[in-house]
């Protein structure tokens, strides 16, 4: 559209680390290229769904909050993931709801209160050039995102065209809580190299509580806790491929759960693999989070994944604001107001805005 200048967002303050991420870079692992992508894929999928984006659209992944961005163009946005205070021009907004923001609006994200990573989706998605089929940033190899790096103050990022389906005031029904709290039970499928470990080693894994160490990052979670004993005393295998959620045990016997930024291959025996549906919570697990493991079968893990895929569909989006039609000076307009916990929303002509009200009594 010629009357529509190119749409962008401006990074005013990136916080500790803000990265461009999509669902990951697939197809090049045999050439040593890490998949990367969002570590909380549930939060990414929810955010994209709320603003009418393709599931493969790229979002901002913000670690620990502290981000400030400006929207030079009027746009629909959604914020998901770690619990934190979010405001648009000082007005509180809710996580997991899509909003229409005015041109020039400024979003401020407070520090994360529960969870580590917040996702911000904008209608149309982040439209930087793809590298090997993805926009995900992999810092270790300097691939993807903006020049393979984290975003910095002053970055101006291009956005794509919003879909026709874009709407504000939506939330995802059954937006199951992915935030970890202080303790997580993680479902795992044993293997591929569980036979490298002794009976005692396997028992340690299932009967102990492990703690996420501060030596954890997008590449993996290092866990502190009881040593997992191998059969032979060796933990090394001839290097082979790893997957998202591989639990490898290096020579010190302390497990490491591999996440999005993992290398493609590794030389430690892998005792088990995390169920795909439990990976998002691990992506939100900060240092000190307690982790226990329980075994499920491959078939059970796949059933969970099939159930998950039913949740992330446009037909599960619902409007948060009940809108009514009014006649004003002979014209029909549609308005509505809703209260969603800490924030209040107003809908005018099918656009839902965050609003600040001194006193508001819900209808009823």
């Amino acid at each position: 559209m010629t009357d529509n200048p190119s749409r962008t967002i401006l990074i005013v303050q990136p916080g500790p680390m803000t990265l461009v991420q999509d669902r990951g870079r697939f197809g090049f692992q045999q050439l040593g290229v890490s998949v990367s992508g969002a570590v909380d894929i549930d939060a990414l999928d929810t955010a994209n769904l709320l603003v009418g984006n393709d599931p493969n659209a790229a979002c901002l992944e913000v670690m620990l909050g502290g981000l400030e961005i400006e929207f030079p163009n009027a746009i629909v946005i959604a914020v998901t993931g770690a619990e934190s205070d979010v405001t648009i021009d000082g007005v509180p907004i809710s996580l997991g709801v899509s909003y229409f923001v005015h041109a020039g609006a400024r979003l401020e994200l407070g520090m994360a209160i529960n969870g580590l990573r917040t996702y911000i989706a904008v209608a149309g998605g982040i439209e930087i050039a793809q590298t090997l089929g993805s926009r995900s940033t992999h810092l270790a190899s300097g691939i993807g995102g903006v020049d393979g790096r984290a975003l910095v103050a002053g970055d101006v990022i291009d956005l794509g065209e919003p879909s026709d389906a874009v709407a504000s005031g939506l939330l995802l029904e059954d937006d199951s809580q992915t935030l970890p709290g202080s303790e997580i039970n993680v479902r795992i499928v044993l293997g591929p190299q569980d036979d490298e470990f002794s009976g005692n080693g396997i028992a340690s894994l299932f009967n102990s509580t492990y703690t996420v160490s501060d030596q954890s990052n997008r590449q993996g979670l290092r866990l502190d806790g009881p040593v997992i004993e191998s059969k032979s005393g060796r933990y090394d295998i001839v290097s082979d491929a790893v997957v998202n959620g591989s639990i490898q045990v290096p020579g010190d016997g302390k497990p490491i759960i591999l996440l999005a930024d993992r290398q493609t291959t590794g030389g430690y025996a892998k005792i088990a693999t995390v169920a795909t549906v439990d990976l998002p919570r691990l992506g939100q697990a900060g240092p000190g989070t307690k982790i226990t493991f329980s075994a499920i079968t491959v078939e059970e893990s796949q059933e969970l994944l099939a159930a998950r895929s039913e949740r992330f569909k446009p037909e599960n989006l619902a409007s948060i604001v009940e809108q009514i039609s009014l006649k004003v000076d002979g014209d029909d307009i549609v308005v509505g107001v809703a209260d969603n916990g800490s924030s209040t929303l107003a809908a005018v002509e099918r656009n839902t805005y965050p609003v600040s009200v001194e006193e508001y009594t819900p209808a009823g």
């Binding site: 697939f26 050439l31 290229v33 270790a140 295998i237 998202n244 892998k270 795909t276 491959v298 796949q302």
Partner: protein, 232 residues
């Protein structure tokens, strides 16, 4: 069918790596014949064109098949892949001879290979002998991993093996050719590293803007060609 004496494991074996991948192990050790079988299996699986298959990651002695479980569940995939493993065994075992050879022009020594002199001293060989031995054979690319385009090469002559540097370098230039213990390799990108650097190539090993980004591919062979200077 092979059996590992120590563990009693029988190969080939298929094991799940979670809900979206199956690992096909054809052995437990580094063995050129097993690695050949891995690359014939890659061809067999690619040719079968299974709808659920998303990505293949061949390594020394195993093949990771990642798949979409919403298209095919584990039991079905496992069955199909077991059939393909059987079928792959019947392929003529001549893959190695057909392997693509990647020639890398290398300037040995000087600023390009700052550790060449000390390696010659360590191995009681002349500098020229080290160069002749290193560039005298074709190296099998067992797999690519660790970093984009980083080849795990096999076949280094033990006469020129040498331990890693005591203190790794903060940055090794892209294209550096090095030796660590009984391995040789080439760094596709600048990175920290502790390998003994004997030379350098200016060949672009990894190019993200290309559809086939890695010059060296799994299953190919690498030949280092000694050149006097980088001008060509």
């Amino acid at each position: 069918m092979a059996t590992n004496e120590a563990s009693g494991t029988t190969y080939p074996r298929l094991v799940p790596a979670g809900d979206s991948a199956i690992v096909i192990e054809l052995g437990s050790e580094i063995d050129p014949n097993v690695n050949d079988q891995i690359y014939s299996l890659v061809k067999t699986v690619e040719m079968a064109g299974l709808e659920a298959v998303r990505e293949l990651v061949p390594t020394y002695r195993s093949l990771l098949v990642s798949y979409d479980p919403l298209v095919s569940r584990f039991v079905e995939m496992n069955e199909r892949l077991a059939e393909l493993v059987d079928r792959s065994k019947d392929r003529p075992d001549k893959e190695a001879e057909q392997a693509r050879i990647v020639e890398l022009p290398v300037v040995y020594g000087g600023d390009d290979g700052p550790d060449l002199d000390s390696l010659a001293e360590h191995t009681n060989l002349s500098v020229q002998e080290v160069i002749d031995i290193h560039s005298g054979i074709d190296y099998r690319v067992y797999m690519i991993g660790f970093a984009p385009g980083f080849p795990y090469l096999g076949g280094l002559d033990q006469r020129i093996a040498m331990p890693r540097l005591k203190t790794p370098r903060v940055s090794v230039p892209a294209g550096s050719v090095g030796i660590a213990e009984s391995q040789t390799g080439v760094y596709p990108n600048a990175s920290p590293g502790g390998w003994q650097l004997i030379g350098r190539t200016l060949a672009k090993l990894f190019d993200v803007s290309s559809k086939s980004p890695s010059l060296i591919t799994p299953g190919s062979k690498v030949r280092f060609v000694s050149v006097k200077s980088h001008d060509r």
